[in-house]
Symmetry: C2
């Protein structure tokens, strides 16, 4: 198939998959699970009655459960798709209702804190395999999801030390069938890697948009009008869900502060170059950063089209 998802599996990978929290990620998982026949039955659950109604309306699941506890009953795969800050409450709620042998996973953007919470609350009879699909948009809610969200994106699994291999392998198959490439690493390393590739970029974007809003000498209308110079890309990132990102920074404090410290040191050096009119130093840095861009395009994580293909309609004249 042209969209990269391929044909549905002839036999489902899991019997009963419970998705808790049907926002952007949960609804995308529901869509791809249905489309690719990843589960015999998809059970959806969400704290919000409004979301549950929307899920029914959109026909995203085979069953909709009124609570997370009910949703996980008899499920062989449970995936928490709630904000990281809600994982603790959900884990406590579902713990007594989990089927022995079930795989319990999540999609949270932070892994160390989630792994600790799940380990603390869940029974030894289930297999804990936290996961993070590195894919998303700045939208949220069940209507924002789509089946191809994970295609050609990476999904990182962070099983605890000494975990059974089999459930890790089964979850990897699930994500592979959803179109993702799977990588396995420790939760701690995940949190460090993502602190630079995701958390710090979001922090910086939120910060610069905040700075712009507060300048007295430049009006908000000017900021908006002349955003095409580069700023608008930051506003897109800074329009991401506040709850999700608050939880990320509260739960990945250490790695984020470490990476932020490096960033600030480098920024101070760059500031000095500007102050001293060090054109050679600036040129050197600005040239070096191009190599990473080329790597990302070569890896298929981005298109080379400038401006994301906007305005290219009549490129030939």
């Amino acid at each position: 198939m042209v969209d990269g998802l391929g044909a549905p599996l002839t036999a489902p990978l899991f019997d009963r998959v419970a998705l808790i929290g049907i926002g952007l990620i949960g609804s995308s998982l529901a869509r791809v699970a249905k489309r690719k026949n990843l589960a015999r039955t998809i059970v959806a659950s969400d704290a919000s009655a409004e979301v549950r109604a929307r899920v029914a309306e959109l026909g995203l699941a085979d069953e909709i459960a009124g609570s997370a506890a009910r949703a996980v009953e008899g499920a062989d795969l449970v995936i928490l798709c709630v904000p990281v800050g809600a994982v603790d409450a959900v884990a406590q709620e579902i713990a007594p209702h989990l089927a022995p042998g079930a795989i319990v996973s999540d999609v949270g953007s932070v892994k160390g804190a989630v792994l600790a919470t799940l380990t603390k609350h869940l029974p030894k009879t289930v297999a804990i395999v936290p996961a993070h699909p590195v894919a998303g948009t700045e939208e949220s809610g069940p209507a924002a999801g789509f089946a191809t969200l994970f295609v050609n994106r990476w999904c990182i699994l962070t099983p605890p030390e000494g975990a059974d291999e089999k459930p890790v392998k089964r979850l990897a198959e699930f994500w592979t069938a959803a179109g993702a490439n799977v990588e396995i690493m420790t939760a701690q390393h995940h949190d460090l890697v993502l602190s630079i590739t995701s958390h710090l970029p979001h922090l910086i974007a939120y910060n610069i948009v905040g700075t712009a809003a507060d300048l007295e000498a430049v009006t908000q209308s000017e900021v908006i009008k002349f955003s095409a110079g580069g700023f608008r890309d930051f506003t897109r990132i800074a329009a991401s869900d506040p709850t999700m990102w608050r939880d990320v920074f509260l739960n990945n404090k250490e790695a984020v502060l470490e990476t932020l410290g490096r960033f600030t040191e480098d920024l101070t050096a760059l500031q000095r170059m500007i102050r001293n009119g060090d054109g050679e130093g600036l040129f050197k840095l600005f040239t070096r950063t191009r190599a990473i861009r080329r790597g990302i395009i070569a890896e298929g994580q981005e298109t080379a089209a400038p401006d994301f293909g906007r305005h290219r309609d009549d490129k030939d004249q």
Copy 2:
């Protein structure tokens, strides 16, 4: 016309338009000038013989001059489309060859320094009207340009104090016909506004990509693989032309350092919130920044499509 450029003018606005420097911006201007009949004759010139050959090959101009001095002879509109750092040399070269009454403009991303340089070198007999189209991509060179680059983008004119109204009006007409919205302000205010909407975002993007490249605990391959979390948008910005951006920071030092100072103060406060686990403070900031995004979408400077419309092909399932 669907692309927003509309029909060609029945009579050209200028007799002879000389474009000096045929890169992304110069070649886009050449394309739209031809397409919209903005000039009876378009003369192109570039320091690089290779670029001149490419311009001939692409058929971008009616005449190609071997030097900037030759290009401006008899032109009633001259637009310098060279990097800001090259404006001084070009101004000195063309000064003795300018026709009395000619309008001399540019497209540089910095305006105070350019206005000062042009005022210093050019004869009193010409009208100096610096300009900056707030539009671009991270590509450069004559093949990267396209006729619709300026459509629905702002072009800022920064005439010197007490300038004649007529040449300003004529240049505004030129840019309007090229699809842009025109705004007039002082060069100093321009440099301040753009320091936040363009220069600081680029600085930050270059810096974070540099920081990522230098982390020992995270490999370059990991940075590239997991860039979809937010980082890849920064790499796109940080792939912009090093010469252009070196010149911007060397020539808008004061405003950039001022804006950078504000940014750093705000970042320190944000860092403290994370360290203290101040979830409420984080949530407040992350919510506030969404309003600016909505403003940009309402102004038509961006599309609301998440992820710039990537992956949306099968949104309905």
